[in-house]
Symmetry: C2
Subunit: 218 residues, 2 copies
């Protein structure tokens, strides 16, 4: 092992983990010593991790996530807290939502122009009245929350009896369970839906997933 010029070069990681860890630590206003205290990892090890001089073991990644109080998945995922440059807030006016339509729904996707967004909020007008002739039952990953803005809808699922939701009622479900919505009121009902994708790391991912979900009949 001739040390003839061979620098560490820090190629043992993707080169973003370290800076990400440092950023999180700084955001929490902690010193290396405090993180060491909180995680049980030595100061030097943390320093090397932050400088991408080592590829930490899974064990230490877990301890790090624990001590920094951040889910491990967030810690290691590439998306990072790097909000630099991108907007941290976006507003969508009542009429300005991004519109699209399917066989059974009119959909207005809200707040589409913010990056690194994990929830996908949208307003939907439910046009179908028959669970079978509709787009059909849809099953996808993640969780969804529904709040009835206007009218009344029925929620059809594979495991429960249909549920009637009136204005102001809300529902939260594991969206892996196949489901569909139909209007029960005279006028087409309107619901506010927020979908959370477990896998989604970026806004563009989410948007793509929504598109594919809406296009498949199932």
């Amino acid at each position: 092992m001739e040390g003839d010029g061979t620098r560490p070069v820090a190629a043992r990681t993707d080169g973003t983990l370290g800076p990400r860890v440092r950023r999180i630590r700084k955001d929490l206003g902690m010193t290396l010593a405090e993180v060491s205290q909180a995680t049980g990892i030595s100061i030097s090890a943390i320093s090397k991790i932050e400088n991408d001089q080592v590829s930490p073991t899974f064990a230490n990644l877990m301890r790090l996530a624990e001590g920094l109080d951040i889910p491990l998945g967030r810690l290691v995922s590439i998306d990072s807290e790097d909000r630099s440059g991108s907007a941290r807030m976006t507003v969508t006016r009542a009429g300005d939502a991004k519109y699209r339509t399917t066989q059974s729904y009119d959909i207005w996707a809200l707040c589409t122009n913010i990056q690194h967004k994990r929830m996908m909020p949208m307003v939907e007008r439910v046009r179908s009245r028959d669970p079978d002739s509709a787009d059909g039952m849809i099953s996808h990953s993640g969780e969804e929350f529904v709040f009835v803005l206007k009218g009344a809808v029925a929620v059809h699922t594979e495991h429960y009896e249909p549920v009637r939701l009136e204005e102001g009622d809300s529902l939260y479900m594991d969206s892996q369970m196949a489901h569909t919505y139909t209007t029960l009121s005279q006028e087409d009902a309107e619901i506010l839906m927020v979908w959370l994708s477990p896998a989604a790391q970026s806004s563009s991912d989410n948007t793509r997933m929504v598109e594919s979900l809406l296009n498949r009949k199932s």
Copy 2:
């Protein structure tokens, strides 16, 4: 292999990573050799990882995620799809939400009785009209989505000019940015808010966090 004390004992990881990796591999119908091929990790190493005999380095975790075609965050996160036993859906009627009040808001937490929930939906009546005399600017982790149900509100943040939101308008923000809401309309405004905690793994966690956020003045 005499059990003369020194056995691996597999305490170098949390004990769930290995089985999880194996499960994913099996689901994909791949052999160790194929995964080795796809990831560049040796067969023996993968075997040891799957049996929790080693704590893989971050570098190998990345290669593994890449080769198994799964987001790294999903690969390492504990959460798992184990929804067995608990309810997969819950409904909250318009009048039945869990109520509480603070100096500036009346809050109805929605869908509180479902486990493993990551989004925290709530309806808030905004009573304050002065951003300074209110509960004060609040900064917390995560993201929040707001939809105005009734009236008009102003959103005050540390980085942006106050934004006026009318009925039907919506907003999405990185809630680490300090913020507060005030009513602009004659009648107290009502908003639907969905908060996503990055750390939250379970409903109870979320509820506790909401409580502490609401109680601190800051």
